[in-house]
Symmetry: C5
């Protein structure tokens, strides 16, 4: 299994125990990450939270926190502002602070994407230490191939380093995007940005699932080395199909867990909770697909 086998050297001695506890927490001791990704309220504004196929529960941001609290998850990633607002009522949830975000209002065909860091690591740590919240890590989205790539690479590198200095995990979202990117789902390109994330020091990197199928993820897993590779959940699918896909990513692709957003939160609370539990079983318990489906169906 591809996972961080050692604490990276930029975690100082004094923060090793915290880093290992965070790693243990988000992987449930398995080394494989179960991430509930809830940063879409910026990335997609309200598009993912209302509509025919979206549970009415999802219109309220607290839905995300209710799921994260009631389900068995590794960690819940969202913006610091939401965490500040809801976490005092959901103190049991391990949080990953998504440091940067952008809307989809400027279309990629018009301008290459730029997503800048909203908060410093120092601010994240100040919040962690004064509010007594379970801040286990930070997240940052890269768009390699964007005309603004240089700015994001420089921010991400420093953020990863400073996060590690504070015992926080560092997770990168890496999506090739820009006028020169013709196929975001090409397995070789995905392997490239997975390796890039490893060079930036990421503990885990979230990439697009390659279009050539789960086995084609192997190139990325190898390229990332000790950095764990997880796939974005993508648009909403049937829950069974989703779990089947994830099982294949884990077993055939060598994924180091999963990072799922819409497929979780667009469901009603109880169903979302069961799906999370099933995902965690696959990611962290090495459960069979059969067992995961039983969890999903509450049977």
């Amino acid at each position: 299994m591809s996972l961080p086998r050692a604490v990276p050297a930029d975690v100082p001695e004094s923060e090793r125990a915290r880093f290992l506890a965070n790693l243990h927490r988000v992987t449930q001791g398995s080394g494989r990450l179960m991430l509930m990704a809830g940063d879409q309220k910026v990335e997609h504004l309200n598009d993912d939270f209302v509509g025919d196929h979206v549970a009415v529960d999802d219109a309220d941001p607290e839905h995300l926190f209710r799921i994260a609290s009631r389900a068995r998850i590794g960690a819940f990633a969202t913006q610091l502002g939401l965490i500040s607002r809801y976490a005092p009522d959901y103190r049991d949830v391990p949080y990953v602070v998504k440091l940067n975000a952008k809307t989809h209002l400027v279309p990629a065909r018009s301008a290459d994407p730029l997503s800048r860091q909203w908060h410093t690591i120092e601010q994240v740590v100040r919040l962690r230490d004064t509010a007594g919240l379970q801040m286990v890590g930070i997240g940052y989205t890269l768009y390699p191939g964007s005309a603004f790539e240089a700015e994001m690479l420089a921010e991400a590198a420093k953020a990863v380093f400073e996060a590690h200095q504070q015992g926080l995990l560092a997770i990168l979202w890496a999506y090739p995007r820009g006028q020169h990117i013709t196929d975001e789902h090409d397995a070789h390109l995905i392997a490239g940005v997975a390796g890039l994330a490893a060079c930036l020091g990421a503990d885990f990197v979230k990439v697009n699932a390659p279009s050539a199928g789960p086995q084609s993820l192997r190139e990325a897993v190898r390229a990332a080395g000790r950095t764990g590779v997880v796939c974005a959940g993508g648009g909403e699918r049937g829950a069974e199909a989703f779990l089947r896909g994830l099982h294949a990513q884990l077993t055939e692709g060598g994924a180091a867990g999963s990072a799922t957003g819409r497929n979780i939160h667009q469901r009603p609370l109880a169903e979302a909770v069961r799906l999370c539990n099933a995902i965690t079983a696959l990611d962290c318990d090495g459960a069979s697909l059969h067992d995961a489906l039983r969890i999903l169906h509450g049977s």
Copy 2:
């Protein structure tokens, strides 16, 4: 009613009492904001302050302070420079420092809007603490969809966090704008930017009133969760029509108060004061439209 039910976690223990007092002050204990918005001297230069339909009182910036002082309001938002100049004579007024501003001289069709932060939170706090003024919060205008969105999101996120650290409320103005925005008044888009403001940690967000009517504001209110949604007052209307519209926003739309500028200050002092009082009755006392109109007419 949609309002901040808890002090956000980025308000440290030592500043909780101040934050709650500020929240109490600007909502008159109701949780619903009554904001007198007076930042138009930059945004619209002198266009809003002279003209056939504008009271002559409004030509002098002190008019804003006279209203804010004599009327019952939640808070008065304007630039720090004006506050420094007039607040020593109007110490009873609770001030919201509008941190960024731009003129309308570069038309949106020519270039996407960019409004940069004028003062740091540290400067605002220095002024508060040395001059003994009632600084209750800060304001920042976002233009999601602008090519310069990334710069404003990064400034706003840090400003909200640092404001909370100092016990100050954070209010965001969120107006989708840029060459790719076709309808600023679309209810779904407004809901999107309201949710964005929640992710940035805003206590309240000021949005355009959706064109589909007050009930269509509900999507934004839900999307913003514990962040209160208030609507911009828009261009000048008859006072009765204005109060009727606000009453509908509050009762049908679930607005968490109001933020009104031109509709207040373009009137003569006495009339402006009565209108403020009527607005506050609607926002903070849960008054009936009938009662609000009686206040307006001083009867």
Copy 3:
């Protein structure tokens, strides 16, 4: 008369006496500013300092200091570099440090203007305090309507605040300029930028004289409130015509003094000194035009 009636709140208690002394000095106790503006060596390079209609004295920068020292003036505004070089020999002169400047080599039709801050307030104060010079204030030029407006507004706001923190006056030059500005001399537009300067906290704002005549300045004077409005002297005119125009600005337009450059320094020393004295008589003594002309003619 329109002038700062109170010390702004961003002047801390410990600097009030200094601020008031500076205000008294530059207005000769009248509340109306007499500013000798000598920043043209950057703005116009050597164009204003040589030529058929320019006194040969003006070719040497020391001419500016000789005038400022021998004449009765409120303050002399120029760049810090010149002040450092000559002020040790002209210690009696009150100086306003012009913080930003640009050349006219890039024409406005080619690119919107950008003028960046050369020195920090901290550097100005270091110079004041170690060299024992009479630094009474700072100046900054804004170009509202420029594509680079956001950068200049953000610099200016901080500069005004920090100047006030140190007991220094803050004077803004505000000239609407850029590809979307069709008439820099429109009275309503000038009123707009005068109000903008008030929002930035300026003690005085220097604007273009409106083309519609001195009475049309009234809108700007009202819009600026407690911020005093003074007009740029413009290109060289006959001295009598100049004084007549200034007298009208003060009496009909409500100007809070004057800011004059070329009309002073393009004359031989003795004549320039007499013109300064006449200007100061109008600005600060409330002298009649008749008296001012007598001073001009040394009679």
Copy 4:
């Protein structure tokens, strides 16, 4: 031989011993650098690490560390993130932290290259001092001729200075690139950027091998003075041809060592180790080509 004959003056007295030890280490006491360059996982993403002519070992980033550890090398240059992850298991390797990097996704014909600094020297030193790793130097890539040249020159100059202040070697990669560069391999242009690197204070500069043959490197060697010039290894070649070319660069061109990437790591571990040993023999022992080939063949 062209090599730094003295410790540069920006290495303070207290860091001289460390600097000399680092120089001794990376040159094996010879003054000529043997650098294993492993920054391609960012520069070329996964293109260099998989393919028909690439050993399967190379798909895993640990391959780089295995080679660096088992072979006799001067130093191994790669990104800080990879070093943090693997160096704890490969503590015997001397590391050069490559400070900046970019992907090749934005083609040079579309936009001039910009590669920004990922980490500060302070961060590199913090890692060195707390993790007890052998950080012997830093690397930075310049693209003279790029429209973004000014930004990279300013970063590089400061990085070299601060590295020297901390006893670290400074190595620059200098590749002329941009829309106005017609021949990156022109010997005179290469000499120009070698001299530029000397002006920036580099201890060694890595340049393209000039197309006119090894003797044409002499101009660059002279232009760089006390800064050692090494050539990029370029695309993969047969190992014997590679060593023959390097021997000529050293003997005919006056190169101060070598910097080799793909030609090393695209081979299986054992072969890569033997090639490294052969390179080091040429660079640092002044071995004959005959001897180097014997080492390559393990005979």
Copy 5:
């Protein structure tokens, strides 16, 4: 003679003696600067250092230091990186650190020039104070008229101030350049940028020699006031012609010395030394042309 008659006020009391010693050193007590300008290895890459008319000595950067050490000069200006490398062996030379530099690879017709500051004054001073080198001043190149003018003016102003704070001389290179500059050698334009340099606080400004002949330099000399004006040496000429031209600049044009690069270093060491000595005789001793030529010819 036009020269700094007083220590500028931004040199603090504690640094006056050092500043005066530096001024005395670079002017040999005469108030007129003799500057050997050696920044061409960046500005022109290797173009000035090899070729038919260039002495072979000049291919090695140490040639510059040998000349500076053996000849009688005022100061030698070059980049900090070269100084760090060679100055320990040439401790007798007074150095001016050229703070910014750019290559000529991006042609002016393609983009306006931008040259950014490589090192901070604090770094220069750290080097001076720890390495015990004779750092007498700093240099900075401005391109007034460039679209990037604002950035360079802001850097230069701060650099001059901070240099003076540390007792260092400040020398500006001021070359009008950009798409709107039609004649860099126009005497009136040169006078303009000389005056600009005075406003920036420069002790000396290096300008292009005006094409209208040495007497036409007088306008610049007057415009610069107490800031000394020196002319760039320009392309290589015969040594006699060069001295004749310089003599005319000094006597007819009022130049405050000279700044010479290629005309010095493109000659063999002995000849370059004699030319320097002849230049210094003209600049600092007020020697006759006859005497200077005798020195040149070693007779």
